[in-house]
């Protein structure tokens, strides 16, 4: 992998928007790895939390958007709760999800969901899921 880094990347407007939406200051992250260490879905993320923060510091918004990470985040706040710098990867990912949902198609279509699930699963799962996956 090679990254050609330019001022536009480092001062990326897109990342600036994510910062605004999430209320997080990406510069604060010093890449300690605690979030990746504690994240329950880290194992399945194409880009795990610590690297998300780094990629965004480098302005690689598109790569992070293309990855499955933001759709996997369960919002458990373990990352935020243990981050020594008080950063919330959860908030960053939520901001990115919001952006993606506003722009493009929904992640999940209601019609694709199995009926037994809709019947048995608690309402809250469905409400919450819709809020995360559907614009």
């Amino acid at each position: 992998m090679k990254i050609n880094l330019s001022n536009q990347d480092v001062q990326s407007a897109g990342v600036g928007k994510v910062e605004r939406l999430s209320g997080e200051d990406l510069k604060k992250c010093y890449q300690c790895g605690n979030c990746s260490g504690g994240c329950p879905v880290s194992y399945k993320m194409e880009i795990p939390p610590t690297r998300i923060m780094r990629m965004l510091q480098l302005g690689r918004l598109e790569e992070v958007k293309a990855a499955n990470s933001m759709w996997l985040c369960v919002g458990c706040l373990q990352c935020y709760s243990r981050c020594p710098k008080g950063c919330s990867v959860a908030a960053v990912l939520e901001a990115m999800r919001q952006e993606a949902l506003r722009e493009s198609a929904d992640r999940v279509e209601v019609k694709d969901l199995p009926m037994p699930l809709l019947k048995k699963a608690p309402q809250q799962a469905i409400v919450c899921g819709f809020r995360k996956f559907v614009s």
């Binding site: 879905v41 373990q78 939520e94 608690p122 995360k132």
Partner: protein
């Protein structure tokens, strides 16, 4: 006890407790009466939204919970909930409204009300600990859960973020175990009690849920737990569902069912049949029923 003398606490059940988790609701109401308070359901309520918007500028997402809070304020200065998610959403929304004048203005504009955040949002566990007192609960126990090694599963929403919701130390909570102790059970502290169950991924990613919930059950069983108690319908659902995948099958029940059981309520009223894991064999084995 005369119903009139009871301490009445406004109560928000939330949508799930009205449907698939009725047993959570009813066992909690009955148990409350047995230890001296009444859960007075709000006259009017709506879904809280089931997720607190993590992006701070998303004030639209606060509308639903703000409406609940504002309505509840008209019925008292305290609001109690049972479901961890409702608790998390309502409590955090409440602090946003209380602490930020600016956001309060916007949210009040959305709901067309004047709510100032002055409610005290409590989880049922907090009511038991701080208003009733575990000592009193202990005194009311008629059917002690003697010999039951029970693991309390906190999940995420009761504890995080600590600054806003934490009903107890985020890494080393004890409130749940203290309750189980009062009920006569042997609480088992297991490492994954504060880890996520997979939450809403139940909708579209079974693998994650099976893995995370399975790890919770494994972790509890590994420490010797024979029973897991929860405080959230989604946790309950995920844990029960992944039971097959987990190497150790352990029944999962709502903590209020355990409470009702210990307080001596009729077994039939506790709604165990609604759970998809069967706790009866364990209770029989322990000689509790």
């Amino acid at each position: 006890m005369n119903k009139m003398d009871l301490m009445k606490i406004p109560y928000y059940p939330g949508c799930t407790l009205n449907t698939v988790a009725k047993q959570f609701d009813s066992s909690a109401r009955d148990s409350a009466l047995a230890v001296g308070f009444e859960m007075a359901e709000l006259k009017q309520w709506n879904c809280c939204g089931a997720t607190f918007p993590l992006a701070p500028d998303n004030l639209m997402g606060l509308t639903a919970p703000a409406k609940v809070l504002s309505g509840a304020r008209k019925e008292g200065d305290t609001l109690t909930t049972l479901c961890s998610v409702c608790y998390n959403v309502l409590k955090r929304t409440n602090s946003v409204i209380r602490e930020s004048k600016e956001k309060r203005g916007v949210v009040n504009g959305f709901i067309e009300e004047e709510y100032d955040g002055s409610l005290n949002v409590l989880h049922y566990l907090e009511v038991l600990r701080d208003r009733v007192g575990f000592e009193k609960v202990k005194g009311a126990v008629k059917r002690p859960l003697k010999g039951v090694k029970a693991g309390a599963y906190y999940g995420c929403m009761l504890l995080r973020p600590f600054e806003d919701v934490g009903i107890d130390n985020a890494e080393r909570p004890t409130i749940f175990e203290d309750l189980l102790k009062a009920l006569g059970a042997e609480p088992v502290e297991f490492p994954n009690r504060i880890e996520c169950c997979g939450a809403h991924l139940a909708m579209n990613d079974e693998e994650v849920v099976t893995r995370l919930s399975g790890a919770v059950i494994d972790s509890a069983a590994g420490m010797g737990a024979e029973l897991i108690v929860t405080s959230c319908p989604l946790c309950q659902y995920n844990l029960e569902k992944s039971r097959g995948a987990a190497s150790n099958g352990v029944p999962v029940i709502y903590f209020t069912q355990a409470l009702g059981l210990a307080l001596g309520q009729e077994i039939e009223t506790l709604g165990f049949e609604k759970n998809s894991t069967d706790v009866m064999p364990l209770l029989k084995k322990k000689g509790i029923v």
